[in-house]
Amino acid sequence: MTGADNRRSVRNSVDPIVLSLETFEAFYRREYGAAVRLAYVLSGSRWGAEDLAQEAFIAAQQRWHEIGRYSNPGSWLRLVIANRSVSLYRRKLAEGRALVKALAGSRKALEASQPEFEEVWAAVRKLPQRQSQVIMLKYVEEQTLQEIAEVLGLSVPTVGTHLQRARKALAESLGTMTEEKTT
């Protein structure tokens, strides 16, 4: 399956048999924590991660009549967050808005990671965009290559290549060894 096929699959996969659709409310509550984690790891912004995640949820809410019918609305959400989190403009904008909310007394930043863990995430963020997205989805979201391919609109072999290169680069930058797993 090509990347274009996968993109169509993510956006058009409507299961006509599903009669009881999940409400946006349930989707929002279930996915919120994972969405913030994804935004944090990819953006590195303790201030802006929640705003980036909320932006994506607002976009999903506005089109829920369509997205709620996808077989996996979470894939659409992750694609939006993954793209927005690596955009410098979006990240800075989210940080600024979160700062305003914080100073107005309605927002706190995420707690800081311990240095040894932050070193790992910093190394992930230094990878090329696609590689960092693949690493995040593989390890934090624990998705399969097929699922990652659906989220990012790539073919499975391409995801495998990104993952292999990302592991190699991370192992070098962190001075660790990598297990040769590709699934």
Binding site: T23, F24, E25, Y28, R29, Y32, G33, V36, R37, Y40, V41, E50, Q54, F57, I58, Q61, Q62, W64, H65, Y89, K92, L93, E95, G96, R97, L99, V100, K101, L103, A104, G105, S106, L110, E111, S113, Q114, F117, V120, W121, I135, Y139, V140, R167, L170, A171, L174, T176, M177, T178, E179, K181
Partner: protein
Amino acid sequence: MTLETRLSAATDELRQRTSDLVPPDLPGRREGFPYAWIAVGLGVLLASFILWPSPISEQSLASDTSRDTYTDEFGRVWYATDCPSADVLLVGSADGLPMKGHTSFERVQSYVGDGGRASVVPRNGQVWERLGDGSISVTHVDDYMIEVTINDESECPQMPISNNGIPVAFRLVGD
């Protein structure tokens, strides 16, 4: 320690650190009848265009002529804040200006929480509005913006910031 072990440990710590996140209410979050709310919103918007009074009067404050402003190479006038990357545009093209009505005293006040470090201050600059024929008009009004105090320059945002369409200025504590 292998790469996979380090990633796994970092992931566990991240999950633990974010386990108590509570989803906040999203703006205008509603289940069902989304089109009804959209219709109400459009109606209110239309009414505001028809009924909107000419420039804010009752709450207007005298322009603060001592404010530090400057003109850039494109002829735009900026209010210089304590965060140079986040100065507030006062005069320029519609792109970076607030929409007419978004910077009224009442509206700005409604976005400033009690007990925080944000306050309502005069802006007095240009705003844009879409006219009946679809064109964009830029006019000067006595309006307002949000000012937040920060403890040091490390808190400065890296670009001009607006909150719900309201420009935000930043001031260092003690200035």
